[in-house]
């Protein structure tokens, strides 16, 4: 599509070298993952002590324990809760961050510079420092022990990472596109939805994927704001197998890690193909 069109050589030596290089790199990169999978089948005395990759014998009971869920809360419930939070976060981030990004990237308004600087500054303060004030705010709003503290911030574009990401992509779009739209009589809203948003799709898909994965794995926020066990998520349940003050269950924890990994693998696989269709293939000629 892009440079391939220009430098096409049917499986030239260079291509083979690239494939071989990638495969070799993958071998190294995926080794720890193989380890994780293997460990999820190890019996208790091998989980930590054994430095072999393969288990002595396959301990399927790790999975049975993990699939039992935690303390009357079934694994399906945990999964559903995780999906709800991650799904809500994806919708929120994609919507609110692209709105804010459009304003920063393409519109003029007073205080744009200082506000943009402020937005970037918000990601510079370690979140531990604002944890308690934020908790107090949500508690005052009566939202602790609901999913709102995990989802609402995403609808308010609090993750400057994604705003900045989309800003960078929007600024990469040629200005003529909008000029043309404006001449056709599109106001900022129409040109946002009709012209800019479709062209920023790679950035939006990226936002969706990262939001899903990061929200899914965000143990800390879930821990702080969720109280009832039937509101727990897979990520929270995963940690409950390990308690330093009593006997831990590392085997089931690894099994639960693998189970918790599956949905995000599927999400990634489902959405990553949309990453391919960027501007280059969408047929837009500047």
């Amino acid at each position: 599509m892009t440079s391939t069109a220009v430098s096409r050589k049917p499986l030239g030596r260079g291509r083979i070298a690239v494939h071989l290089g990638c495969l070799a790199a993958l071998l190294v990169m995926l080794y720890p993952l193989a380890w994780l999978l293997a460990t999820s089948l190890k019996p208790a005395d091998e989980v930590v002590a054994s430095l072999d990759l393969l288990p002595g014998h396959l301990e399927w009971s790790n999975y049975r324990t993990a699939l039992d869920g935690v303390n009357d809360v079934s694994v399906w419930r945990l999964l559903g809760n995780s999906l709800l939070i991650a799904g809500g976060a994806v919708v929120g981030n994609v919507l609110s961050c692209s709105l804010a990004a459009y304003a920063f990237a393409r519109l003029r308004f007073r205080l744009r510079g200082p506000l943009f600087a402020f937005m970037i500054a918000t990601i510079m303060l370690p979140h531990h420092a604002v944890l308690i004030p934020q908790y107090i705010i949500f508690n005052q709003l009566g939202l602790v022990n609901t999913y709102w503290p995990l989802i609402l911030p995403k609808f308010l574009a609090t993750e400057a990472f994604f705003v900045f990401l989309i800003v960078q992509f929007m600024r990469g779009l040629p200005r003529e596109l909008e000029e043309a739209a404006r001449i056709d009589g599109c106001g900022p809203f129409r040109s946002f939805f009709r012209v800019v948003l479709p062209l920023t799709r790679p950035a939006l898909i990226t936002t969706a994927i990262f939001t899903f994965i990061w929200t899914w794995n965000d143990f800390f926020t879930q821990l702080i704001y969720l109280f009832d066990q039937d509101k727990f998520t897979l990520t929270l349940a995963l940690r409950s197998f390990v308690d330093a003050s009593s006997t831990s269950a590392f085997g089931p924890m690894f099994a639960m890690s693998v189970i918790a990994l599956l949905p995000i693998v599927l999400f990634f696989l489902a959405f990553q193909r949309f990453l391919v269709e960027g501007m280059a293939s969408s047929g837009v000629k500047g």
């Binding site: 989980v47 930590v48 304003a103 510079g113 990401l165 779009l173």
Partner: protein, 312 residues
């Protein structure tokens, strides 16, 4: 920060006066687009930030009301706390090692995948796989096993364990970050995807080879994304917490070698219950990251190219 961060076009605002009605309408529209962000920024960001700034001038043990102590937390940090300075050095070392390592890996892989027709989706997924995991406890245990005495790395290279030696443990943490290069890689790929094919065609017509195309098309067109990755990875590296916390089981050991800045901040704030001190640490970090980011933004003028500003 401040003015350096202004998207350049803002400064041209006066020039737009002939179309001032439209400009005003667009100003109104801008605030509509911004309204969710403004609400979130005030209630969920600015307010807590202001509280933590106030707390940084107090003695606050989480439960009793904060007591104003002026600059004491700051002076104590700079003059009486050797562990604080050790954490600063550790963090700087980490930033210098982890950021280039991760970005280089992400960029090289993204470029390798760019021109691929077959297997691209497979490789992209496979290279992203480690990043799906985050730095959970299971990952930390795997990492510790791989980098332990008698672990894989020791067996292959005879280096001994890394996670349990003060000189090496931080490298193991940096490698965990670098291993999870999926996020910057995907962002690079998306950026590469956005480069119009016509540019390459035009370059080819002008007789540019692969290398020439890379320098005159790929690099400038990718620069906004490269800049984004550089800024964000640097900011995140300064705040690194989870991988160091997970690998050292929350201790920052061996011998404080992985006690990075935010881990020490967490230790002060939540373990030792000196939230005032921890808040002061947070604001010093913000100032330092702010300066570094401002420098990056300033240099960006000379190497980041925005298509929207065209050839001005």
């Amino acid at each position: 920060m401040t003015t350096t961060a202004i998207p350049p076009e803002a400064k041209r605002a006066p020039a737009a006066s002939p179309r001032s009605r439209t400009a005003r309408r667009r100003e109104g529209a801008a605030w509509v687009f911004l309204s969710p962000w403004v609400l979130g920024a005030i209630v969920l960001t600015l307010l807590p930030m202001a509280v933590s700034l106030y707390l940084s001038f107090t003695d606050y043990d989480l439960f009793s009301p904060p007591e104003w102590v002026g600059l004491r937390n700051y002076t104590q940090m700079f003059t009486e706390d050797p562990r604080y300075w050790r954490s600063v050095v550790t963090t700087l070392t980490y930033v210098v090692v982890a950021v280039p390592l991760q970005l280089a890996l992400a960029l090289v892989v993204a470029l390798a995948l760019k021109g691929m027709k077959r297997g691209k989706a497979f490789y992209r997924s496979a290279f992203y796989a480690p990043s799906l995991l985050g730095a959970s406890m299971s990952v930390a245990l795997v990492w510790r096993a791989v980098f332990n005495d008698g672990g894989t790395v020791d067996n292959l290279f005879g280096t001994g364990g890394w996670v349990n030696k003060p000189g090496w443990a931080l490298l193991a943490v940096a490698l965990l970050t670098a291993w999870q290069f999926g996020a910057p890689m995907v962002i690079f790929l998306a950026g590469l995807q956005q480069i119009p094919a016509e540019l390459y065609e035009a370059a080819a017509v002008d007789g540019a080879g692969t290398w020439r195309q890379f320098l005159s098309v790929t690099v400038p067109m990718l620069s906004p994304v490269l800049f984004f990755n550089l800024v964000l990875q640097t900011i995140q590296a300064f705040q690194v917490f989870t991988p160091a916390f997970a690998i050292s089981a929350g201790k920052g050991g061996p011998a404080d070698s992985t006690l990075v800045y935010t881990m020490y901040l967490y230790d002060r704030g939540f373990v030792a219950s000196h939230m005032g001190y921890a808040s002061a640490m947070a604001w010093v970090l913000l100032a330092v990251i702010g300066v570094v980011t401002a420098v990056l933004f300033r240099t960006s003028r000379s190497w980041v190219f925005y298509a929207s500003e065209g050839d001005r």
